[in-house]
């Protein structure tokens, strides 16, 4: 399969990359891991005139933990996130998402920024980022802004980022106290697969670890974007975490999604699996929350 022809740029700083994007407008595309973009170009679904490679920008590849936040450069690979001890300790569900993505070969190339920016509804990293209430640092030649990830996804492949903006980093507030999370994905196969349903849940318990102070549930593959489930969250907050409560929340989550029917599964099956994965990820979140002290 032949790649369409394009002009290639290799900036070495974010500023230089933003200048190139500003100059070439919609005719240029940032190239991160290439596992999505190059495939779409080979299939001729996309034929950008220019590619701006982000692979030689050292500041995009950094991970920093400070003042209760974890800042992950957009160019950090999925395999680095999957094997990071810091991620496993502070935002475990993101590590679980990273380990579920693609294959080892894809994970060694794909980046967190690319997994967010490509805005696929079934992507493995967004649900965890939604429940941790991560913010995206968007950079352009005009400056920098922060956007809650909840406001970023607009539809399949569509985002709130402007054509001249790059995702520079992802900033995650590290949960403290009795807080925990969990992520699960269901596919036809365990690797190299598009998810049928993927869910992340987050729970924060009160200071005696008895009732739920905050709850967040995010669903993937069952709508045009990854989405939060307000009904499930409302069911959980202020209650004591029990299996019966998680069952109710799981039921509520099934009503907050709009799954499609395709060769991977029927809409009803997807809806049912939203319930199962919500219940299971809530149990994972509770186990982790209780293990903190």
């Amino acid at each position: 399969m032949i790649l369409p022809k394009f002009e290639y740029h290799e900036p070495t700083s974010i500023g230089e990359a933003c200048d190139l994007l500003a100059h070439h407008g919609g005719k240029a595309r940032p190239l991160a891991g290439g596992t999505d973009l190059l495939v779409n170009m080979k299939k001729k679904a996309l034929c950008p005139e220019r590619l701006i490679s982000l692979g030689r920008i050292p500041e995009l590849a950094q991970v920093e933990r400070s003042n209760g936040t974890l800042r992950i450069g957009a160019g950090v690979t999925v395999s680095a996130i999957a094997s990071s001890a810091t991620v496993a300790r502070s935002v475990s569900a993101l590590g679980q998402g990273a380990r579920a993505l693609g294959t080892p070969l894809i994970r060694n190339l794909a980046t967190i920024g690319g997994n967010i920016g490509s805005a696929r509804p079934a992507a493995d990293l967004p649900p965890a980022l939604l429940v941790y209430e991560a913010a995206l640092v968007l950079r352009s030649a005009a400056g920098e802004r922060r956007l809650a990830i909840n406001e970023f996804f607009k539809g399949p492949g569509l985002t709130a980022a402007r054509e001249d903006e790059l995702i520079a980093a992802i900033v995650i507030p590290v949960p403290s106290g009795y807080a925990g999370a969990g992520y699960l994905n269901l596919g036809v196969r365990k690797a190299q697969d598009c998810n049928i349903v993927n869910v992340a849940s987050f729970l924060e318990l009160d200071e005696r670890a008895e009732s739920i102070r905050a709850a967040r549930v995010a669903l993937g593959s069952v709508g045009p974007t990854p989405l939060r489930s307000p009904s499930a969250e409302k069911t959980l907050v202020g209650q004591k975490p029990t299996e019966a409560l998680f069952e109710q929340a799981a039921d509520a989550a099934t009503r907050d999604c709009t799954p499609i029917l395709d060769f991977r599964g029927s809409a009803q099956y997807r809806r049912d699996m939203v319930g199962v994965l919500t219940r299971r990820t809530l149990a994972m979140a509770l186990t982790e929350a209780r293990s903190r002290n």
């Binding site: 399969m1 032949i2 790649l3 369409p4 022809k5 394009f6 002009e7 290639y8 290799e10 190239l31 891991g33 290439g34 596992t35 190059l38 495939v39 080979k42 299939k43 590619l51 490679s53 692979g55 395999s79 693609g102 294959t103 080892p104 070969l105 894809i106 060694n108 190339l109 365990k190 690797a191 190299q192």
Partner: protein, 152 residues
């Protein structure tokens, strides 16, 4: 317009002119003549084109040749030494893990990244490590046995 890049392949330095839209697998096979790296689906699905880039196993069909500039690449041709075949290559032969051979280069390089970081993997770790490499002949069992044997 062609761009001049330098890269190290199997411990040998190359300076080559490549088109921006040339992928690493095509550079290896058609410009450097290293046809041990196979080209299967060309979309990152099958793993036949797996090479190690800076020690990490990647689909070379999803890497532009220009992106490999300045990097160190290892292909199947780089595994044999004066002392003989690499233990993984030897184990693949002895355990019958090679049938048609099309997936073998990629399988062996994925397994090499695993063993470089985890010298004594358990079976789930082996299965995960080769989960991006498709084999249509062996049913995988003999490949897993070969990797276990090489790790011994």
């Amino acid at each position: 317009m062609k761009q001049l890049i330098r890269l190290t392949v199997n411990e040998r330095e190359y300076e080559v002119a490549v088109e921006a839209n040339t992928t690493l697998v095509d550079l290896l096979r058609y410009q450097l003549g290293l046809t041990g790296t196979k080209k299967g689906c060309d979309l990152g699905d099958c793993g036949a084109c797996t090479v190690l880039m800076d020690g990490k196993a990647v689909n070379s069909c999803l890497v532009l040749a220009v992106q490999a500039g300045g990097r160190t690449v290892q292909t199947i041709e780089g595994l044999e030494t004066a002392g003989g075949l690499h233990p993984l290559q030897q184990a693949f032969i002895e355990k019958g893990a090679i049938q048609c051979g099309f997936c073998s280069s990629g399988m062996i390089l994925s397994a090499k990244e695993l063993l470089d970081g985890t010298p004594h993997p358990d079976e789930p770790e082996i299965r995960r490590a080769i989960s991006g490499n498709l084999c249509r002949c062996t049913g995988y069992q003999k490949i897993i046995e070969a990797i276990k044997e090489a790790a011994r």
